[in-house]
């Protein structure tokens, strides 16, 4: 595509340097934000009369000090990987799925139903069935904003926010009525929840094999999350759908001119995103607890947006971003045990980190775009029409 303009021997190094520059710029921006967060955090720590080195040391120790500690970190990271992937898939196509939150709540209800009712499935098939049903639940919830966007033009941000609100009530209803626990142990006062799932519906522990304590609940969902990252990477980078997604995301006009069905692509992305979102809640109900209760862990969908940003919507970067986020979350325990700083300090650290990441990435992106535009101007390739540039840019990324 568009190979007429530049001689190949000239084009190749420039592409590489552009890409290298982009990656270097992103890495620098991430490093800078991490430094800003740690520095501002240090100021707060000093205000509490503690030593920053000691506090950060404690956080490090509780994440990397032993195999067990790292196991805890990976278990925390597992749902975040799914959640961030779900966000990233849509984002590549220029869609903002802030409905991951609602999608995983509905998926937890679907999974709870499957865990309690599909126990006739033989052997390991039960848990597989549960995961499939969870994904389907997420897909159905994601399909609504997807279809509305394509058919009526309703903005996905508004519709997904509203779908989140509906999902919260839906889960509350499910736990209060159709799935309410029947077998409550005598004399025991339990929170509103479902019955405990049969063992065949739970995901197996892999942590103990490596010496991680059972309390970490490190399950093979982590392996599934990593596999999902690789699949998403392949999907976005090496398949036709990925190409179309990026075309729709970067320039809908030229995508349409190129014969890509914008609506079809958007709906496919929403469905894939919903399927991934469906797996977000599995760690807590199938590994940590073994039931679905009203005291479920919320906000994982919104956290996924932060993690996706931290990983720059790159499926592999997301794995590391999720681990970084999990290290900080794990730090809460470290602070409570080792220091006088309130454990909530960690959440502030995460907040500062994500805020500075969002801002520094934005600055880096603009700087980079300005520089590359300047350089392109010097070479004289600005005569190309905007549309041709867009398609060319995509082709470059593909190589």
């Amino acid at each position: 595509m568009a190979t007429v303009t530049a001689a190949p021997e000239q084009a190749a190094p420039r592409i590489r340097s552009d890409r290298l520059e982009r990656i270097a710029g992103q890495a620098l921006a991430l490093l800078a934000s991490l430094l800003i967060a740690l520095l501002l955090g240090a100021v707060l720590i000093v205000a509490y009369g503690e030593s920053p080195a000691q506090v950060y040391g404690a956080i490090w120790e509780f994440s990397f000090g032993s195999v067990s500690n790292f196991g805890y970190v990976l278990a925390i990271a597992t749902p975040l990987i799914f959640s961030a992937l779900a966000v990233a898939v849509c984002f590549k196509g220029g869609l903002f799925n802030i409905g991951v939150e609602g999608q995983y709540l509905v998926a937890m209800v679907a999974a709870a139903w499957a865990a309690l009712n599909l126990d006739f499935l033989p052997g390991g098939l039960h848990v597989v069935g549960v995961l499939v049903v969870a994904s389907l639940g997420g897909m159905i919830w994601a399909a609504v904003p997807g279809v509305l966007k394509v058919k009526t033009g309703a903005h996905e941000v508004v519709t997904t926010i509203m779908m989140n609100g509906i999902a919260v009530s839906f889960l509350a209803w499910a736990v209060n009525f159709p799935l309410k626990a029947q077998e409550i142990p005598a004399g025991q006062n339990v929170d509103l929840r479902t019955d405990v799932f049969p063992d065949s519906a739970l995901v197996g522990d892999i942590g103990t094999t490596f010496g991680v304590s059972r309390g970490a609940h490190l399950s093979w969902l982590l392996l599934l999350a990593i596999a999902a990252s690789i699949v998403v990477w392949f999907l976005l980078r090496r398949t036709r759908l990925g190409y179309e997604a990026r075309a729709v995301g970067s320039s809908p006009g030229s995508a349409r001119a190129g014969g890509i069905s914008i609506g079809g692509t958007q709906i496919k992305l929403f469905l894939i995103s919903g399927a991934l979102a469906g797996l977000v809640g599995m760690q807590q109900i199938l590994a940590d607890r073994g039931y679905l209760g009203l005291n479920y862990v919320a906000v994982l969908g919104f956290t996924g947006i932060a993690v996706a940003f931290l990983g720059q919507n790159n499926p592999i970067g997301i794995i590391f971003a999720a681990i970084l986020w999990a290290v900080l979350s794990r730090g809460e325990v470290a602070l409570q045990i080792e220091t006088e700083v309130p454990r909530e300090f960690v959440i502030i650290l995460q907040g500062i980190l994500i805020l500075s990441v969002v801002i520094t990435y934005q600055i880096a992106k603009r700087r980079l775009a300005a520089r590359q535009l300047q350089r392109a101007g010097a070479v004289g390739s600005l005569e190309d029409s905007a549309a041709a540039e867009d398609i060319e840019g995509l082709a470059k990324e593909d190589r």
Binding site: F96, I98, V144, L148, K151, T152, G153, A154, H155, V157, V158, T159, I161, M162, M163, N164, G165, I166, V168, S169, F170, A172, W173, N176, F177, V299, F302, T303, I305, A306, F309, P342, R343, E344, F345, I347, I348, Q350, G351, I354, L355, V358, I359, Q362, I363, R366
Partner: protein, 327 residues
């Protein structure tokens, strides 16, 4: 179900109306200036915790005889509004100065607010991260003249109200006037419709957008403080219950109009009150209460999909504006 129940439901709905209307007006100022604000829920959360803290500080520091009382509530409300505006400054800086995507920034605001609220709570309330001590005082109650004298107990709907409820309802006049009858309002709206044209006429777009966003923080903060300090009497994690998002829904349905917002804020407030008081009414008794809670969201989806009427946001809302400050 009797007429009294309906009257009491209306009375409850007026409390929810206050929360939704104040927050919705906040969103209105922000979005009319061109900055989409889905961080309303987060701004409210900051209002709840700082409002409760403001009331507590005043009660502790005030001379004898003042302490816990109407004054501490008033200080709490003001402090919540102030801190909401301060926190909204983050959203303004990110979106206006650094031109971060408005949705991204809004999501971050909501996420950070939850953590910040816990942190502030642990700091203010002796390590209690998720609530403050209950049992705070309230403002003296108010009976709306004439309306509260309606016969057959209907007057109960308008008796025993918080003064803030009346304040919120009356706010429609100054808000409408500021937007449609002052130079400031015209300029603010022009920044939301066509910032390039506004700038060419000498309007400082960035300044107006900062003002719009900070006003949204102040109003959402006030709303949160009202909920925590005046209505409940203490701060509790999660007490906003997604009302920030319901406010956003009401704002969208109102077509970004303060007068229509009055109606939708009350309508969604009434929907909130139904399961509390009218759960045995015909038709409603067939539905579990959780389904009633879905109504505002479903109505908004139906409306935004264009099945009924047409909603049109300010033309430039959400779009990055390239003029002004430089990076």
């Amino acid at each position: 179900m009797s007429l009294v129940d309906v009257a009491v439901a209306v009375q409850i709905s007026l409390t929810y109306f206050t929360i939704i209307y104040l927050t919705g007006l906040g969103g209105l100022y922000s979005e009319r200036s061109g900055i989409v604000n889905i961080g309303l829920e987060g701004l409210m959360i900051i209002g709840t915790v700082t409002g409760a803290a403001g009331a507590r500080f005043f009660a502790d520091a005030a001379p004898d005889g003042l302490g816990w009382g109407a004054w501490s509530v008033a200080i709490g409300l003001l402090f919540g509004a102030f801190c909401g505006a301060l926190f909204a400054l983050v959203h303004a800086a990110a979106t206006v100065t650094f031109r971060v995507d408005h949705i991204v920034s809004g999501v971050v605001i909501n996420l950070v607010a939850i953590g910040l609220a816990r942190f502030l709570s642990a700091t203010f309330f002796d390590g209690q991260a998720t609530q403050s001590n209950p049992g705070g005082p309230h403002l003296p109650i108010l009976n709306v003249p004439l309306l509260s004298d309606l016969p057959a107990q209907v007057g109960r709907a308008f008796s025993g109200l918080s003064p803030v409820v009346v304040f919120a309802a009356l706010l429609v006049f100054p808000v409408w006037y500021s937007l449609y009858r002052t130079r400031w309002g015209l300029r603010l709206r022009s920044c939301g419709e066509n910032p390039e044209a506004a700038r060419s006429l000498g309007v400082r777009v960035s300044a107006y957008r900062y003002e719009g966003v900070m006003l949204s923080g102040a109003l959402a903060g006030l709303s949160g403080a009202f909920l925590a300090v005046e209505e409940i009497g203490n701060w509790r994690e999660g007490q906003t219950l997604g009302l920030g998002f319901i406010s956003l829904a009401a704002l969208i349905l109102s077509n970004w109009n303060p007068v229509r917002l009055l109606f939708f804020a009350w309508l969604f407030g009434f929907a909130k009150a139904i399961p509390l008081r009218l759960d045995d009414a015909p038709l409603i008794n067939l539905l579990p209460p959780q389904f009633i809670n879905m109504i505002p969201y479903v109505v908004t989806i139906v409306a935004i999909a264009g099945f009924v009427g047409k909603v049109r946001p300010p033309a430039a809302a959400g779009r990055a504006y390239e003029g002004g400050s430089a990076i």
